[in-house]
């Protein structure tokens, strides 16, 4: 396995133990190439969020292998010591709810990530503002999160996921609160970013409006993944 992007082989995740144990992931195999946006769909409780949490180094899988780029980060145990640094430097998260930091303005909500990575404030803010144009939130750069609309907040959250130019972005139902026009806009931005920065992106969704936009889709059912060719329809 020397392919770049995200590679997942035989990942399993069991919650709890004994009688109450839940086999959330039984056999997950995935590959997402750099510059690719893939959909991950499946019924409720099928293990989608669990998979993103494993891949995002938020919870530990039970078995299997995970690779980010050339690095084997998990091989039946974590191979990386500082998971927080791994998340900070290599993974961008976009959640269903934006969860912005209420006491920081839009710019600093996004600039916080490069700051945490050690960038000087001015440079971090510049890096944040570069994304605002593409996400159409330039005019709200100085606003506080509470002053934004739901869609604007979601776009700020997306900017936050992208700002460190992570090689991987994990998005869990990022369009759930948005109308179809804005949902498609978000998918368009993710695709642009993927191409521009060679990011590998996984988008978990239930959203019928955006499912047709994926070129490749993984289905997950009872903790097992199946690959399927998507429609790859244009979202213009």
């Amino acid at each position: 396995m020397t392919e770049k992007g995200i590679t997942i082989v035989g990942v399993k995740k069991r919650y709890g133990s004994g009688d109450t144990a839940v086999e959330a992931l039984k056999n997950v195999n995935m590959h997402v190439a750099p510059g690719e946006v893939v959909g991950l769909i499946g019924p409720s409780g099928s293990g989608k969020s669990t998979l993103l949490k494993c891949l995002g180094a938020v919870i530990e899988p039970t078995a299997g292998q995970m690779m980010l780029g050339d690095d084997l980060i998990y091989d039946n145990a974590w191979r990386v010591k500082d998971l927080r640094a791994l998340r900070r430097d290599r993974i961008g998260f976009v959640f269903q709810a934006p969860y912005l930091i209420p006491f920081l303005d839009v710019t600093d909500n996004v600039a916080l990530l490069p700051m945490l990575a050690g960038k000087p404030n001015a440079e971090a803010r510049k890096q944040a503002r570069e994304l605002f144009k593409a996400l159409d939130i330039e005019h709200r750069a100085k606003a506080m999160p509470s002053q934004l609309s739901g869609g604007e907040q979601q776009r700020v959250a997306i900017a936050r996921g992208l700002v460190n130019r992570p090689p991987v972005i994990l998005a869990d139902e990022p369009t759930a609160p948005l109308d179809s026009e804005r949902a498609l806009a978000v998918i368009r931005i993710l695709n642009e970013m993927a191409q521009k920065f060679a990011t590998a992106i996984i988008v978990v969704t239930h959203d019928e409006k955006i499912i047709p936009t994926f070129k490749r889709i993984y289905h997950i059912r009872d903790g097992v993944t199946y690959e399927e060719k998507g429609e790859g329809r244009s979202f213009e």
């Binding site: 919870i59 900070r88 209420p102 006491f103 700051m115």
Partner: protein, 401 residues
């Protein structure tokens, strides 16, 4: 890196300022408490310092004249002065009582001083107005804290006195201002009975056949006269001659006069260690209670603030914030609260409590520094529960289901 704590405080400054002010009033009371204790100790020291005495000669086996009552003959000073090493010795009486001025009572420590001059033990060392007492009767020097004015007439027991001089910071160990009057007047005031009592005593003496002997003319009159004279004073203040060791002089007075003698440091020990010890304990209890209450308040506020931010903390962890940064966020807020509280507290204590408090409140810079350190420590300790809660937050919570 921006200061997360600072931004959060700026964002919800109202909450911080108001809780900080509440805490500040508490800290202000705490600082004033310490100041009251310092004031009492200071009053005691000033009392001893201003008396101009090196030794206090009092009734045998008493802790007089301030902590216990003491009475010795008013001619003891003669013998004491003749002892080697004694530069000066003078009688003194202290009587805490209500002094009347234009129908209003002022609580004061009336001090009887012997005729002599400035520098005589017991005399006020300096005046801020007027002159010292020059006549043997009915003149008084009062501390300005009595609010008496020069030339005013005051009433002590049955006699009227004219204020001829004013002093400053002459107070008893319980903070009552001092009023100096001639010794003879003071002895009379201490001993004085009302007219009925005098008549009653005279009647009893006359009825006593041991005193009323027709065969011995003049005996009854002599006895009655002696009954109305007070030949006691509370203490003799001694100034030790330069070059003599007060301890040695005290020892020789003890040996010759069968009286109890205290040196300056022993007297200080009695005043601070015994006379104001109960008050000091009360104040210490209050300090402890206030510290506990302050800690509980800080802990509760910080915990509430942290719990309100638990989701943000999960997000911060998810995006890779170090634990150190999260600990810093909480602890800095806690310390900021303490700082606001301390500044408000210091201002309240200095501008509000100290001037209006009826007692002398002495705010020592060292106490403030100690108070500051205590506040910061309390804030750090109080934030520990919140920090533990924050560190337990699972970053997975930020992603949700």
């Amino acid at each position: 890196m921006i200061s997360l704590a600072g931004r959060d405080i700026m964002h919800s400054w109202g909450k911080f300022v108001f809780t900080g002010m509440g805490l500040g009033l508490l800290i202000g009371v705490t600082l004033s408490m310490a100041g009251i204790y310092r004031g009492m100790v200071d009053d005691a020291r000033v009392l001893l310092e201003n008396s101009g005495a090196d030794l206090w000669v009092v009734q045998k086996d008493t802790l007089g004249p301030y902590a216990e009552s003491s009475s010795i003959y008013d001619d003891s000073w003669r013998g004491i002065r003749s002892i080697s090493g004694v530069a000066d010795a003078a009688d003194i009486t202290y009587l805490t009582m209500q002094v009347r001025r234009k129908g209003v009572d002022v609580r004061a420590m009336v001090t009887g001083i012997t005729a002599g001059g400035p520098g005589t033990p017991g005399w006020p060392p300096y005046l801020i107005g007027g002159r010292q007492i020059t006549r043997g009767h009915y003149e008084a020097v009062a501390d300005i804290a009595t609010k008496f004015k020069l030339g005013e007439r005051i009433k002590i027991r049955r006699n009227h006195y004219t204020i001829v001089g004013l002093t400053r910071r002459m107070v008893s160990s319980s903070g009552d201002p001092m009023v100096f009057i001639p010794l003879k007047d003071a002895q009379e005031a201490q001993f004085l009975k009302d007219n009925d009592a005098i008549r009653e005593q005279r009647r009893r003496t006359e009825e006593n056949s041991a005193f009323n002997r027709p065969g011995v003319p003049g005996l009854l009159d002599a006895i009655i006269a002696s009954q109305s004279i007070n030949t006691y004073v509370n203490a003799v203040l001694v100034r030790v001659a330069t070059g003599h060791n007060p301890d040695e002089v005290a020892e020789s007075i003890r040996r010759w006069k069968h009286l109890t003698v205290y040196t300056r440091s022993q007297m200080e020990e009695i005043l601070v260690g015994k006379l104001i010890a109960t008050s000091a304990k009360q104040i210490a209890m209050f300090l402890i209670i206030l510290s506990i209450v302050s800690s509980a308040i800080v802990a509760f506020i910080i915990y509430t603030l942290t719990m309100g931010k638990i989701r943000e903390i999960a997000v911060l962890k998810l995006i890779g914030t170090k634990n150190r940064t999260i600990v810093g966020l909480i602890m800095q807020q806690s310390i900021a609260l303490g700082l606001i509280g301390f500044v408000v507290g210091k201002i309240t204590a200095t501008l509000l409590m100290a001037p209006i408090f009826p007692k002398h409140v002495l705010l020592e810079p060292l106490d403030s520094i100690f108070g500051f350190i205590a506040v910061v420590m309390i804030c750090i300790l109080s934030s520990i529960i919140s920090i533990r809660a924050a560190l337990k937050v699972n970053p997975a919570e930020a992603i949700g289901g």
